[in-house]
């Protein structure tokens, strides 16, 4: 029963949904300040979500209705599970299971798969192009992302998130080492791509392919997609906090999360969008190269 509490209330669905909305509020507020605007009120994400629930759900002709409507839900389910694993590792490091880091890496792929399948099921060429870009983006950031996580594994000697957190509580955090800081920089860029934020918002690219996979979505399924995005905006930075700089205190962890979030938002607001081939080349050369250096540094103990 306590597992279900973990999952549904804290640190699962409700907790991550609330903090996801908070994260997107911070995103919009900071972006607004950067652009010299005032920005939305605190409850704006809630208004958006509830408003979408009341809208008509339109489904394209000639497609599988079930696939189209259920795709968003699977993404939401997976990201909620990630939230539970990541935050449990930081709250009660002893309770985690062996190899949960690998589980998290794989679960993080599901929201992207949901977006891709949803885009496919839209029966719209624009959505298909967006979905294919999303897939190529996954391919491009996968190598640097794995390598930067490997740096943490080498540093802490474990693939269990609980052990990774406890190790860093007893010893200096990974980010304080030379290899750690390089891996962290690469990981932030990968997170940026995972979240589909500029300069890697190529799959959605509103100006060219009108939000790509989401072009046919409206009403409730769109609301669920948005909610998934918001929760990801909360979970992915917290994942980095757990890997690179956890602390024993819950509030400190939240503060560090906010710090990582602001970095992400600033990158988003100060960069133009790349083309997909540029992104692939960037991640496969500079990204992979940098994270490889981090791995080598970690292997020789720096």
């Amino acid at each position: 029963m306590s597992t279900f509490f973990d999952y549904l209330i804290f640190p699962g669905f409700l907790f991550s949904a609330v903090f996801g909305m908070l994260a997107v509020y911070i995103d919009r507020k900071v972006s607004a300040r950067v652009q010299w605007r005032k920005g939305p009120p605190l409850l704006q994400p809630v208004y958006d979500f509830v408003k979408l629930l009341g809208k008509e759900i339109s489904v394209p002709e000639q497609t599988s209705v079930f696939t189209f409507l259920s795709a968003p839900v699977f993404g939401l389910a997976a990201i909620t599970l990630v939230s539970v694993i990541v935050w449990n590792a930081m709250l009660v490091p002893g309770k985690t299971f062996i190899g949960d880091l690998i589980v998290v890496i794989y679960l993080l792929a599901i929201p992207s798969i949901a977006v891709i399948i949803g885009g496919f099921a839209s029966n719209n060429p624009i959505a298909s192009i967006g979905a294919s870009r999303e897939m190529k983006l996954i391919l491009s950031y996968e190598i640097p992302f794995i390598l930067s996580i490997l740096t943490v594994i080498i540093k802490t000697g474990s693939i269990r998130m609980g052990d990774i957190v406890t190790y860093q509580l007893a010893n200096p955090a990974v980010i304080t080492s030379a290899s750690g800081i390089i891996a962290f920089i690469v990981a932030i860029l990968c997170i940026q791509a995972k979240l589909c934020l500029t300069p890697f918002d190529i799959p959605e690219a509103e100006q060219e392919i009108i939000a790509g996979p989401a072009v046919e979505y409206s009403g409730t399924p769109l609301a669920i997609f948005k909610l998934t995005k918001w929760i990801m905006l909360f979970v992915l930075p917290s994942f980095l906090v757990a890997l690179f700089m956890p602390s024993a205190d819950f509030l400190y962890n939240l503060l560090k999360f906010a710090g990582v979030l602001v970095i992400i938002i600033l990158i988003k607001n100060t960069n133009p969008r790349l083309r997909i081939d540029q992104a692939v080349k960037f991640f496969w050369t500079y990204g992979a190269g940098l994270s490889l250096i981090a791995v080598i540094l970690a292997l020789i103990g720096l």
């Binding site: 008509e56 489904v59 599988s64 389910a77 690998i102 496919f120 294919s132 072009v215 496969w284 292997l299």
Partner: protein
């Protein structure tokens, strides 16, 4: 003992009878084949329940049941039933090139040979069954299509050629140990070059059968011209099971491997994963694309076995089983799609996901895709997760030089998984979602969708209840056949049941959100798609085939692909070139001039006399 003889005899005799049943009475042959395979399945179940034991025949311990082959026979028989059931509707009844009654004979004999091969305890006996399976494969490839001769020949040469090497390996083993009984052989490759040679010879046999690089080239070549159920039965499941079975036997039972050799095996595994999956990404033919994945997945199994620690080995064996399940599911789905649409060209397929298309095939294909890409909580994830664990354990225990190899393999395996996902997304789009005028195709017969859905169901069950079912009954006990034990209990492990329950809980939340929106007055409406207000001409559509063009156009890949198109990496073509070079050199001597022939004969005679009489 009797049981094993019956087990081998029943499909063999049923096959013989099938061969003499006239073509017009196909139904009888089908029913007989089905009955035979079900009988085999029941018998294998009894074998699965027996304890490890050796069987005497002619004073030799020819067969042996142990914890490793017990569960393999069960699955061999299961795949047999499903493929025979599927075949009854797959082959058109009227077609001129429709199969001969020898088809079911070959299928039944394949099952018999595979069972014998797995149960054999004598290397020669194993080799006989092994070679027989190569022969039935050769026959089956040509069972339906006239243009499959070249592919069949290539398959036969590669598989048969590797058999020759295996004979050599077995001969060396006999010289070294004086026995051919598998449970009595124990050699170390570290201190003897001969033993190393023997191991490599047998390993090449295993690689050729399973389709590991560089002996894989027959699979992509035969796939487009071979009927789908044949690929589902042999290269996708039985050959994988047998190849990896042999590799596990030789590397864990017969030989103890030196560290450089395991590193070499891991390297082969990693290269196989990455290279094959990159080839798969650019294919335009459904069956050919799938066949490259059949190659790529072998890499994971080799990686798992090569780690040498219990988690990795268990992962490799589990992956072998999982791969056989989802890969045969893929080929059966591919066969259904081919049957309904008449093509496997991805450029021509599309729009099959909806109600008017093939929803059941879509469901099976989608589940299998998620499994092969290692998405939790499906079965492919569990085995990959175990292999990664094995690699990381090896990384922690190894010396610095091997640490790097373990890391490289880990990255290759994880990245390979992303590439696999990518190529299956392309497939799913091209087959099921590409925009196309809806043709009312309809679903295939139940004989065809039932095996697909059963296999897809196994993917889910083996993933969600991984520790409660397959690992507990099949995989973990099989480790004892190699005198290994999984250290620690399974409590601290990934709990797929729990995770699935949680995922379902959140899916219920999703449903609640939907219900809430309906109570807020929302309704579902169908509408036309929006493309910036334009109307899309019918001939302009995104098929998905060129999804990864951007990656293909990157310079280094472009050049590599061009070389691969020219078959520069094909060991068969190398062999052909070498043989042709020799032949043309020899042909120069055949001038038709009698004097030269006579002179050569006398020279030869002189040399012979010198050699034999001179001493």
């Amino acid at each position: 003992m009797d049981l094993i003889l019956y087990l081998l005899a029943v499909p063999f005799v049923a096959g013989l009878v099938c061969a003499v049943i006239p073509k017009k009475q196909r139904l009888i042959a089908e029913l007989l084949a089905l009955a035979g395979s079900i009988a085999v399945f029941l018998m294998t179940f009894i074998i699965f329940r027996t304890n490890p034991v050796n069987f005497q025949l002619f004073g030799l311990e020819l067969f042996r049941i142990d914890n490793f082959n017990r569960f393999l026979v069960l699955f061999i028989a299961l795949f047999g039933i499903l493929v025979i059931l599927y075949s009854t509707k797959f082959f058109p009844k009227t077609d001129k090139f429709s199969i001969s009654s020898f088809y079911y004979t070959s299928v039944l004999w394949s099952i018999s040979a595979a069972l014998g091969c797995v149960l054999a305890n004598n290397l020669i006996l194993m080799l006989v069954f092994w070679g027989f399976l190569g022969l039935t494969l050769y026959v089956l490839i040509q069972s339906n299509s006239p243009d499959s001769k070249d592919a069949a020949k290539k398959t036969f040469i590669i598989v048969g050629g590797s058999d020759c090497l295996m004979i050599l390996g077995i001969a060396i083993i006999w010289v070294l140990t004086g026995t051919l009984q598998m449970d009595k052989i124990f050699l170390s490759t570290a201190d003897s070059t001969l033993a190393l040679t023997a191991f490599l010879c047998l390993a090449i046999g295993a690689f050729a059968k399973a389709g590991a690089m560089p002996f894989h080239t027959w699979i992509p070549d035969m796939a487009p011209v071979t009927p789908a159920p044949v690929i589902a039965l042999l290269p996708a499941s039985l050959d994988k099971l047998l190849g990896i079975y042999l590799l596990a036997r030789i590397s864990l039972n017969l030989f103890s491997l030196s560290l450089p050799l395991t590193a070499f095996l891991m390297f082969i595994g990693a290269v196989t994963i990455i290279a094959a999956v990159f080839m798969a990404m650019i294919q335009h033919d459904l069956k050919k694309l799938l066949s490259y994945h059949a190659v790529s997945q072998v890499g994971y199994m080799i990686l798992g076995l090569a780690t040498g620690n219990p988690v990795g080995i268990a992962g490799g064996i589990f992956h072998m089983l999982n791969n056989a399940i989802y890969k045969s599911c893929f080929f059966l789905c591919g066969g259904s799609i081919e049957k309904k649409t008449g093509t496997t060209d991805l450029d021509k397929l599309g729009a099959l996901a909806g109600k008017a298309g093939m929803p059941l095939t879509f469901a099976a294909f989608f589940i299998a895709s998620m499994s092969i890409s290692g998405v939790p909580p499906f079965n492919g994830f569990v085995s990959k997760w175990m292999i990664y664990q094995g690699l990381i354990t090896q990384f922690q225990n190894a010396s610095p030089k091997f640490q790097i190899i373990a890391l490289v393999c880990l990255v290759a395996a994880m990245f390979g998984s992303a590439l696999t996902l990518a190529s299956f997304m392309k497939l799913i789009h091209a087959i099921f979602f590409a925009q196309k005028k809806n043709e009312q195709k309809g679903e295939v017969n139940w004989q065809m969708w039932l095996p697909q859905l059963l296999l897809a169901g196994l993917c889910i069950v083996f993933g969600v209840f991984a520790f409660a079912l397959p690992l507990k009954y099949f995989i973990i006990p099989s480790l004892s056949a190699f005198n290994l034990q999984l250290s620690g209990n399974l409590i601290g492990f990934w709990q797929p049941e729990l995770a699935t329950m949680l995922l379902i809980a959140c899916i219920i939340i999703g449903i609640i959100i939907f219900l809430a929106s309906f109570s807020l007055g929302s309704v579902i409406k169908r509408h036309k798609i929006f493309i910036g207000g334009e109307v899309l001409p019918e001939n302009q559509r995104v098929t998905g085939v060129d999804f990864y063009q951007t990656i293909k156009e990157i310079k280094i890949f472009d050049q590599t692909y061009a070389l691969a198109q020219k078959k520069v990496f094909d060991i068969y073509d190398w062999g052909k070139a070498i043989v042709n070079a020799f032949a043309s050199a020899l042909a120069l001597m055949h001038t038709g001039n009698m004097h030269i022939y006579l002179a050569m004969s006398i020279m030869g005679l002189t040399i012979l006399l010198y050699v034999f009489l001179g001493k």
